[in-house]
């Protein structure tokens, strides 16, 4: 699994961090997403998919084939 984030779309909601704090964080100053782990391990996949779905800015992309 390969995760990418679109900083320009991100509205700083932090919904991704609430779900998957091992994979996502937010910048201190403007709250924009920080990708901590672009290739999360297997046991995190389900939560990362959910985080991508819940992101209200549709800023997280999950490539399952990678």
């Amino acid at each position: 699994m390969k995760v990418t984030v679109d900083e320009e779309k991100c509205c700083g909601a932090g919904q991704c961090v609430l779900l998957a704090p091992d994979v996502f964080d937010q910048r201190e100053d403007d709250g924009i997403v920080v990708l901590l782990d672009a290739a999360p391990s297997e046991e995190l996949h389900a939560t990362v998919r959910e985080a991508a779905a819940v992101c209200p800015a549709a800023a997280i992309d999950v490539d399952e084939s990678a």
Partner: protein, 391 residues
């Protein structure tokens, strides 16, 4: 309940799409059809008053998924063909073109319809903003120095005023509240918003309701206020709220009362669910609730998908929305209100970077961050504690 052999989702936007996707993620292999009134592939609404209206984004950027991702869903999209009737007992949906779709589960995700002013439909130059087509039509009229009156001082009106001002329009915002979003966010934050808009050159004509429009030769010329005064306008946006799109449910057997009435599991009837802006359901601590925000559309969809697949999940989220106006990015958790006591717990309102807590009867009811997203999210936990049902 057994796993349904087919699911019909009505409404092809954030909530409807998220329901279909969640069903697939959870391994559902039956048929899924998604019926949408608009001809467009699912797109996102929040950018419509922001990046799409400003022109910063081409409309395609607001698409929720690529065509490839949609194809991977193995769902049938019936677009540009609104549902016109539901038989809740038989769980069949009829569309305008006469198609009848049946499923063991039906999901109502039809969102809202913008409210209009009397006489609006006969006049050109008057807009609402709910759909992509609305956004493009409005954008086409927003030029430098055009006189725009925004009727409505809620979150949508305030965002449109800010974006249009950024495009150089002469903007006036009118509405009955004393300051933008006053009822929703209380006087402290609303006054800061009023200050921000005024400083950026938006003329505020607040405190009197808008009663109608004036026009000449089929084109709008102004907005009439409760005082009788007329604000001259070349273009008008009516942003006076929206109503659940439930007209097509007449005779369906579902209960509709400002939304499709559901139980705590978002179930409106046996095998029928509602999700997103259109759904009114029982929240464990907040009672009967209907939320109009982007995060709820997806979170509720996850709960509905679980329940379609046989879970008995009660849906009791922490409400959340954000809004962008000029350089202010405001994040709101919970349900703040004008009645709550507000205290700044981090940052400084004068510096336009702070977190405020809302309390009613000593309990935290809301957290608001103004250009402090991460810090506001960290405070959300106090709300979670207050919203968790006492055992």
């Amino acid at each position: 309940m057994s796993v349904p052999s087919g699911v019909v989702v009505v409404g092809a936007s954030a909530a409807g799409l998220a329901t279909a996707e969640a069903l697939r993620r959870k391994g559902y292999r039956g048929e899924v059809s998604v019926v949408g009134a608009e001809p467009h592939l699912p797109y996102d609404r929040p950018p419509l008053s922001k990046q799409v209206l400003s022109g910063a984004w081409a409309p395609e950027r607001a698409r929720l998924r690529t065509e490839e991702a949609l194809a991977g869903l193995r769902a049938e999209f019936v677009l540009g063909d609104p549902a016109v009737a539901l038989d809740a007992a038989a769980r069949t949906v009829r569309t305008a073109s006469g198609r009848v779709l049946g499923g063991d589960a039906v999901v109502v995700a039809t969102g809202l319809r913008a409210r209009r002013l009397p006489g609006q439909d006969g006049l050109s130059g008057v807009h609402v903003l709910r759909t992509l087509d609305d956004a493009l039509a409005l954008r086409a009229e927003l030029r430098e120095s055009v006189r725009l009156v925004v009727a409505g001082e809620g979150v949508l009106g305030a965002e449109i005023a800010a974006t249009a001002r950024g495009l150089g329009a002469e903007v006036t915002m009118a509405g009955p509240q004393p300051a933008p979003l006053a009822a929703q966010l209380g006087p402290m934050v609303a006054d800061l918003l009023a200050g921000l808009h005024a400083e950026r050159g938006v003329a505020l004509r607040l405190g009197t309701g808008v009663t109608g429009l004036t026009g000449q030769d089929g084109r709008v010329t102004g907005v009439r206020l409760g005082t009788g005064e007329v604000l001259p306008a070349d273009v008008v946006v009516v942003a006076i709220g929206a109503e659940p799109a439930t007209g097509w449910l007449a005779g369906s057997g579902l209960r509709v009362a400002d939304g499709v009435v559901c139980d705590s599991r978002c179930r409106a009837a046996e095998g029928v669910y509602a999700v997103g802006d259109v759904a009114r359901w029982e929240h464990a601590t907040l009672g009967s609730l209907r939320l109009e925000n982007r995060t709820n559309a997806v979170e509720q969809a996850l709960a509905v998908a679980d329940n379609i697949l046989g879970a008995e999940r009660h849906y009791s989220p922490v409400p959340y929305f954000w809004t962008d106006q000029f350089d202010a990015r405001i994040h709101v958790y919970g349900l703040p209100s004008a009645a709550a006591e507000v205290s700044v717990v981090e940052g400084d309102p004068a510096g336009r970077r702070f977190v405020a807590l809302y309390r009613e009867d000593g309990r935290v009811t809301g957290v608001l961050g103004w250009n402090m997203p991460k810090q506001a999210r960290l405070r959300r936990q106090e709300l979670v504690e207050a919203l968790t049902p006492a055992l």
